[in-house]
Symmetry: C2
DNA sequence: GGCACACATTGATACACATCAATCCGTACG
DNA sequence: CGTACGGATTGATGTGTATCAATGTGTGCC
């Protein structure tokens, strides 16, 4: 239990680069991992496939193995807020209570490891250390959520975009990906719905940043040139 | 462990009305509770007192016993985003990893139960069910964070305020408080920093809602008259 | 090749909210 | 009792971003 509160990976949600089922639980032994794998299945998803929907019973939990999955919350009207983009190693709905409070969809083709909730619960019952891992994952997720709240409430469009891009780059880099021309697989609409903007504002702001020499826009990619020249505060 | 994933209190973060140390752990027996109480101390805080600061080592965790505590994240400049208001029974930084990622301050005079992190860790070591409780609390906090992200990113000022007020009312009601003239102890600036607005916009929007007959503004309180007449969507 | 369709980009305009600036109010304090 | 002070309110004005509308650009498909 000492580990629960330990000053361990204060850095980022899931720094594990291994792209295999169960990789998110970094403390598991080989035997445990083998058993865990057997409990779930790897499901391939086509682009735009919906993994689960807000309001539906949370029967399974998920871990991204390949690709990108976006998590979002919707309202009766068309409004959508993307709360995050999940990368390989990231876990979704691992502690959902009863019903999904969000939806998730594959941004591109994705491979997802899905495990029935009860099976995972059984697996964890006799392995207390698993709970510690989960607590740490959730703690990181909460910190991340606070960051995003700050961005949504207190940053202007330029800063939102630069912060988003640099964070995205850092996450991909942590997975060992090549990020010099940074891959940006999600659509402008996805970015807009993530940052609380409109598609048009995202386009225009990216164009403005390019004109200023801060970035270079390529098809499906963006090169980050001058990360420092981020916008000054827009709100007092 | 079955309980971890059970479809239990999907409703709200900490529905426990008992305002005493440890009340947030609803599954504890009397003996456990007594021991737990002995590990921490009740600390009275004056209005505006800072409980802990973003960046400082997370040495303790906290539980509000009386009063209101606001949790916020700041930037080098004066920008502040209040991520939530904690009420009696709510827990803060229970799973912080190493350093505080947010700050917290008393909105009014407050009584807070504070416990050193290691002591709580020791307490929980031999009580696996405590971890389950923590996971459930954190899961609720994550759901809540997603709600707030949606509000910050996709609601206009009127809707932000109405949603905020009704949620605040529901939380107080759950604690058994009288909410007909809803107590609003936090300042307009606090509300603004919570909703991603400015003080002036909060004032003006409240005035507009009052003119429309949706609310009635009283000193330190607001009466909710027509909760339904919330604003239509402002963003597509 | 050419059509269709979704996505991206750019422009013109409107508006919600921020900003700047008073004024008002309640409370603390000399 | 007057002064000072922070919070609340209201007004005048500016601007960032949304909205509406059109035009590119690519990609799949017949």
């Amino acid at each position: 239990m000492t580990k629960l509160m330990a000053a361990s990976s204060f850095a980022a949600p899931c720094a594990n680069a291994a792209t295999q089922p169960g990789a998110f639980l970094s403390q598991l032994g080989a035997a445990d991992l083998r058993q865990l794998k057997a409990l779930g299945e790897r499901v391939p998803h086509a682009s735009q496939d919906v993994l689960f929907t807000q309001g539906a019973p949370a029967a399974k939990c998920f871990s991204v193995v390949e690709g990108v999955v976006c998590v979002y919350r919707t309202e009766h009207d068309n409004r959508r807020q993307i709360t995050g983009f999940a990368l390989p190693g990231d876990v979704l709905e691992i502690a959902a209570q009863g019903y999904h409070e969000v939806s998730a969809a594959a941004v591109g083709p994705a491979l997802v490891w899905e495990i029935p909730r009860e099976k995972f619960a059984q697996f964890a019952t006799h392995r207390p250390y698993v709970l510690n891992e989960i607590v740490a994952l959730m703690a990181a997720e909460i910190v991340d959520a606070h960051d995003k709240m700050f961005s949504l409430g207190r940053r202007a469009a330029e800063e939102k975009l630069m912060v988003f891009l640099t964070c995205w780059r850092d996450r991909l880099a942590r997975l060992g990906r090549d990020v010099d021309p940074l891959p940006v697989p999600m659509s402008r609409r996805d970015i807009a719905d993530h940052l609380g903007l409109t598609v048009e504002t995202v386009c225009r702001t990216l164009a403005k940043l390019e004109r200023r020499g801060a970035i270079e826009i390529l098809p499906g990619r963006i090169r980050l040139l001058d990360t420092e020249s981020v916008a000054a505060p827009a709100l007092a």
